[in-house]
Amino acid sequence: MSQKMWTARARESWQKNLPIEKLIPDTQPSYVASWIYVFGVLTIAALSMIVLSGLILAFAGPAWYHTSSFGHWVNSLHFWSVQLFFAFMVIHLWGKFWMAAWRGNRFKTWVSGAVVFVLSIATAFTGYLIQTNFDSQWIAFEAKDGFNSAGIGAFFNVTNLGQMLLLHVAFLPAVLGLLTLIHVLMVRKRGVVPPIDADSSNTEAAK
């Protein structure tokens, strides 16, 4: 028997694990009709606004968003989207924690969400460091002692504006976006976790 190409193996694995019906479903179990299940997609909506406003800020630059009224508005939009992103994500986390969302072979989904949460904190932190104002200067000089005492100050230099800027606008968003995508695909593969006392006839079996 001839060995299949890696492309064929990858395609068959994808079709087996995540067929198109699961990837783009048109129905959900009835227990999903609850406000507590809305906070995951609200988090993604806030993340989309962060990326969109962040792109505008990146292209226009600090000389624009520190001086023009529209620049201030987009800067504020970016900031408040982050506040909503964290609020929605934490409420999503509370909801998933209390329904033990790692049940039904969903442990990796839970862990990927936890990793995204920690990475989001790092991304927000680098955002505070690149405001190019006295606030960011104060935060950087307070934080450097912490990073130096942890022994990672040479690799993660919070007073290096160029390093923090590139981490914030390139590396961290790329990793965060990829992990968010993987997290959502895992939810699609296993299905939305049912409530603990859900009727088993109304739940999709997680494979």
């Binding site: 009835s30 609850s34 406000w35 507590i36 809305v38 934490v90 409420i91 509370w94 909801g95």
Partner: protein, 56 residues
């Protein structure tokens, strides 16, 4: 900024302290708001709840 917002924002935060616990009033308000939203999200009925009977 003008009015009460500028008065609120242009001063150091007010902190509440009880033993080893210390929290700013702003952070406390945000946490209480999030807890309220969490409880409401569980208790409030979801509008236009779709059922199989509706589809028939």
């Amino acid at each position: 900024m003008s009015g009460w917002i500028s008065n609120f924002m242009n001063h150091p935060a007010t902190y509440l302290k009880a033993g080893w616990i210390q929290i700013s009033v702003s952070n406390l308000i945000v946490i209480l708001l999030m807890l309220s939203i969490f409880v409401l999200a569980i208790l409030l009925p979801f509008p236009n709840k779709h059922s199989d009977e509706d589809a028939k």
